[in-house]
Point group: C5
Chain length 357, copies 5
């Protein structure tokens, strides 16, 4: 499980603290300004550089990568009239996805997931602020730039992205984040099927550990996708006017994607519970089989050994005719062997009847 | 579990990708146009052929079988004013059933289930677009044409299908899809009863596997029928006017069918959980029985063998009168046998009291 | 689990199929017409016989027993303006309880339960159609006529049944169906208490089967009563005016009864889960006890037998003074016996300390 | 579980049947009439005695203890215009708590719980009818008069009870019933903690039974308190005006109490589930420990005994130099003992490594 | 679990009882009065001292630490027009968090949690009354003053606390309480991960106890945070006007914090259930392994010992040629040893095939 923010209890709300992580370096800030006919991209160094971009009809997308510069963010906040709580949430990583509606602005905090080189699942926080004619995005950007395909599409001008407003850009960006869940969830389908097969056939401690790790991954994805579904549901029902009627079907489509992912994740949850049951049942079955083998072996040989040990006693047949007279009978040994055989065979018949053999 | 669509993360929404499956061939397109008095059926090659059919009062049913021709679909979409997201959903298989309401059109995506030759359960996606005076259906059509009975009923003119509008046709088609669940769910009732009986009587690893497979089938059906219930519920409560008041009771009836199926499926779910419990309890009971047999055999024979082994020791009675003087007593052997018998009998009595025997 | 209707997938809705069960014989149709002052009972052969009964202010109760005559029902349907879907539901047995609201008519489908001679639980479908001044009831009537007490009360004129309208008659009939659940659920209380006691004291495979059967009975009752509770809830909140304000408290009372039954059934469900836990725990406990006995016996006797077997070896003391010189020591045997005793006693003390004895 | 009412299926609703229990004797009826300045208490024999008390502004509290006199109740019902269904509910014990709203009257049925001399939990039904200026209470009164403290408070005139209307009196009486749950639930806290401790340390069959009984008690309390919470919630939201705005906070407070009790009871439920898990885990752990001891003892001694039994064979060394030549070697015996020691020690080392010792 | 209030059943509502705990001493009362420009702090001895502070526009924060002086509280209640039920709740510890809305006042009861010196989790009740221009807080103050950081912030005048009204002060105080949950929940993350690792690797009774204690802690935190989430949700949706529109986002932020905590706690709950499963599976696996070792050892050595015991019988070969003639064969001993070896080896091969070795 991920740790929570390292916010000092009792400190003032909306405190901007630069996270003390290595990537807390000077962030890279870029601006893309476009409408159907124009497109301009540039790097931003000073907040003042943004001045003209907000006062025209073009869509402005300000993207900040890295969380290192609280001062810049504060200026930007004042400039774009961002609520201090939204600013704080952008910087504080380790939060739950959420949607806050402020006057004329939506603040959306999302979780992006991806696998690193070691195939380990990482969760990264992405914030998005949607205003009338701009979108501000803030990424931790530890490993992956999720927005690259969007940038490419803006440049190429394909689809209807360039013909629509900032709400559609926001949709495109959110959709890019959500779409990253699909390949990961997809790869889990195979894994799960395999695991269940293995648990049925020969359950080992190793598989138990794999199952356990799988459960934790599921729980992690679920914690990210669940609130994101709610966020998209709320955006779909938005009545503030920030999301235009024309964009609504696209938000609804994105909402459907979160529902599909959540549906699969819930399915995994159920499947892991079943797998745990399988594991336990398989082990119980195995123990039962082992026990049966043990019991059969013992039940056959212990009485035979007992009989042999009787005739291994050293009572002196010479001292009295009652002391083990069998020892000197001519057919005693073959008779004893025969008795033993009969006992063994009837045991085996008995076990066959009981279906233990 | 079914894999998700192979949509590239970050690609534009509403991209029409022809699925790379073998059945992605040139689709067959047919048109049935009817009202109470007329009926016309023909194959459609060009979108322009549809021109006249939409501008009259007759009900037009356009059926597309196979997903291979994205270009045709795009033209058709433009012609019928289908939202690009709906078009995309028609082509992308592996989706969750859903209902999207667009202006003057309902887009319904359903799951049809059927068993193939190997008795394996297959899920096929069927899309349906309901407009004012037409219905468009798109099937993957890998194995089964679910709409054949409907076609026959239109031709024969039985029932009130020919006297009603496109909303009733849509109902008839949806109902045809839902009705396919009944025989499958019905066949599962017997299977489940059998399985439970077998688990109670002699639980084996094989039954565990059957139970496990059954669980997965249930989960699959449930994932299909659950959203379809919601879709029909929403259609029943439709206030857009696309579904006429006269058709509503039929949609409600169809909704009731999904409720019945879901009810049964939930019942199966509960039954499988119970069956798993049964299996575990049965195994535990069996292990306990095996243990009891083992313990009884050992507890009776081990002390007897011990006694015999005592008198099998080679202490020299001649070396000292304290060394196994019993060996030369006249009634030693019968006495020892008697003692052994007493021990065995009292053990048996003890086990009977403990209800182990 | 009960099988579903044998409706052909793809056939037209509202098809009237006579169920191919033995009781599908010519049904018996009776009419009771009454108000506060008059009462008339007669058998009905032709639909026309009903002509006058619907055009007066009296309450008419038409009761059909047996599902064999689809033709008559069709005529009746036309006569009473019954929706074809309602007609179809009357004939198709094996459905879920439901309430359909048509213009000026409520169609209610209920499940009656009773025990047959073999104490097996049977579910029978009872349909009821409530109109402005009539009530139509249709029973399968395989074993029991649930409406007999109502008929008697109408004849005797006790209570306020004769002073009220058709909605009160409908209530009385529904209540008669619901009331049949009470003795059955009541008899289950004792059974459950007994079973739990037995599972705690000596769990056997037989009890496991009883528990399993009990679970299935509960699940069956639950599936019947759950939707009936919802139906009565909806009738209680009816705003169409078909249920008069004066009758509402009675419907509410009947709704309360379904809540009580459901409450008990849910309780049973929980109790069976607990009983299953009890069973498993009891078995585990027992296995543990058996294991302890086994371990104690083995741990005491195996070392002793080992010692005895040492002195049963045939090394020749004469060949060397190191070969089992003990055999010829004068007090060897008593010493060995003493050592064995000490070992046995210390084992027992050890097990007592470990609370195994 | 408590049995349901012994209502005959099919009998008329609102039938007044005197319960055939010993306390069905002539009930005691008392009247307390008060306002801020006056207070009058008397016993009531005839319904007519109530005549004047209902037509003044004072609050009248009519309390009936014992359910024996259906005739009186019927007259009272006519006098106070009580709905027949409410009258019936007062007499029929074994019902679920409920609230029925009639014109100008609330009928509340509650469950009082208390422990009898044998510390067994008893549930008693208490009905309350709140009218404009009177409250009617009906108790079974088998063991405890829950309303005594209220009576005392009315007499002493403390608090604001005397200054308020019948709705406040009703609150006071309901609160008196609810307050009786607190000491019982409180006493269960300690019991549960003890039990969990015991289950962890040495799980026995006795504790399993205690846990089982505890579960049933919880389930019983829950079934009483759950609907009472809903009743109080509905009273708190009352809009009929029967509950004055000034009394509302008190009803809300009482509602909070039911929430607290329910919260604790739900907690107990969870705790018992955990305790069951604990029990099973503890037993499994113990069985594992027993098995380990068994396996260690057997694994050490069985090979040693085998070796000893080898040299106990009676092959004649004289018949051939290959027949047990060891028997006559000079250091054979010490060597064998040494080998045995080495085997035993390496076994112990092996088990230590496996953490079995 | 915490015990409930020691309220006497049947006593009048709103009775002020001084809790009989050691800290029920003379409480310390302090007043902080501030606006953007002024700040005044003083100790309060008499209620009259508060006179002037309520009639100005400044925000007054009255803080009472310790619950010992019911008389003072009663005077204060009269002075500030606090509802008697709110006063009672302030004094009665051991309650559930709640929000009561009175005219112009909100009464909020919260749970503060912290760890004492022994790392044990303690829950302390904090009440807060929000009026138009004042906030009254009452703490038990057994160990920790949670409001100290707030006091400091008022004095330092940082943030916007000094510029806002009493509703913002109330938010700040509530947030201070909620913030105390974060470090505690955070420390549990590591603990849980560790525990799961340990359960997988070597499950012991000690870990079971730790898991059990952890579960109880979770349940305790959950019972505190769950209602607090609801309280903050209701405050966020407040429509009485007591919470200004400007403060709402802050309340919403605080609500988000409770959601995050609850989310984590629910996650812990799931994780503990998984851990319990892990424990049981691990134990089962271990028992199975122990059983396998046991069975292998026994199955190999018991038949060998049996063979040895055969040739340990004392039948006299001289008495008859059928009595153990093997004993005198020249290669008998090596042959027997060879047979034994073959049996042992084939057993081992058999076990390897079965994957038991």
């Amino acid at each position: 499980m991920q740790k929570l923010r390292n916010h000092q209890p009792g400190s003032a709300p909306a405190t901007l603290a630069i996270p003390s992580t290595p990537q807390g370096q000077k962030p890279a800030i870029s601006l893309i300004e476009y409408d159907a006919h124009h497109l301009e991209e540039r790097k931003i160094e000073e907040v003042e550089n943004l001045a003209d971009c907000l006062n025209n009809d073009q869509v402005s997308w300000i993207n900040i990568t890295g969380l290192g510069d609280a001062e810049f963010l504060k200026q930007l906040g004042a400039y774009l009239r961002i609520h201090p709580l939204a600013l704080q949430d952008m910087l504080n990583t380790g939060q739950r996805p959420k949607l806050d509606e402020f006057d004329e602005q939506f603040f959306v905090l999302l979780h992006m997931i991806y696998k690193d080189k070691d195939e380990e699942l990482l969760v990264e926080q992405v914030s998005l602020l949607l205003g009338r004619n701009f979108v501000l995005t803030v990424q931790e950007n530890r490993g992956k730039d999720v927005f690259d395909p969007v940038r490419r599409r803006i440049r190429e001008g394909g689809g209807n992205l360039r013909f629509m407003k900032s709400d559609y850009l926001a949709y495109t960006l959110i959709d890019a984040v959500i779409d990253n869940y699909f390949p990961i969830v997809d790869s889990m389908v195979d894994f799960m099927e395999d695991l269940q097969e293995k648990l049925l056939d020969h359950p080992t401690r190793e598989h138990l550990r794999e199952l356990h790790d799988f459960r934790r991954t599921i729980s992690q994805i679920r914690r990210s996708i669940w609130p994101q579904r709610d966020i998209l549901g709320r955006l779909t029902r938005d009545e503030s006017g920030l999301i235009s009627k024309r964009s609504k079907p696209f938000y609804r489509d994105c909402h459907d994607h979160t529902v599909i992912i959540l549906d699969l994740v819930e399915n995994f949850r159920e499947a892991t519970t079943n797998a745990m049951d399988l594991y336990l049942s398989s082990i119980s079955m195995r123990t039962n089989e082992v026990m049966r083998v043990l019991t059969i072996v013992i039940t056959i040989f212990i009485p035979l050994t007992f009989i042999a040990s009787i005739y291994g006693m050293n009572f002196d047949p010479k001292a009295s005719p009652f002391n083990l007279p069998e020892l000197e009978l001519p057919y005693a040994y073959p008779t004893v062997l025969l008795v033993m055989l009969i006992i063994a065979v009837s045991m085996i018949v008995y076990f066959r009847r009981k279906k233990w053999l």
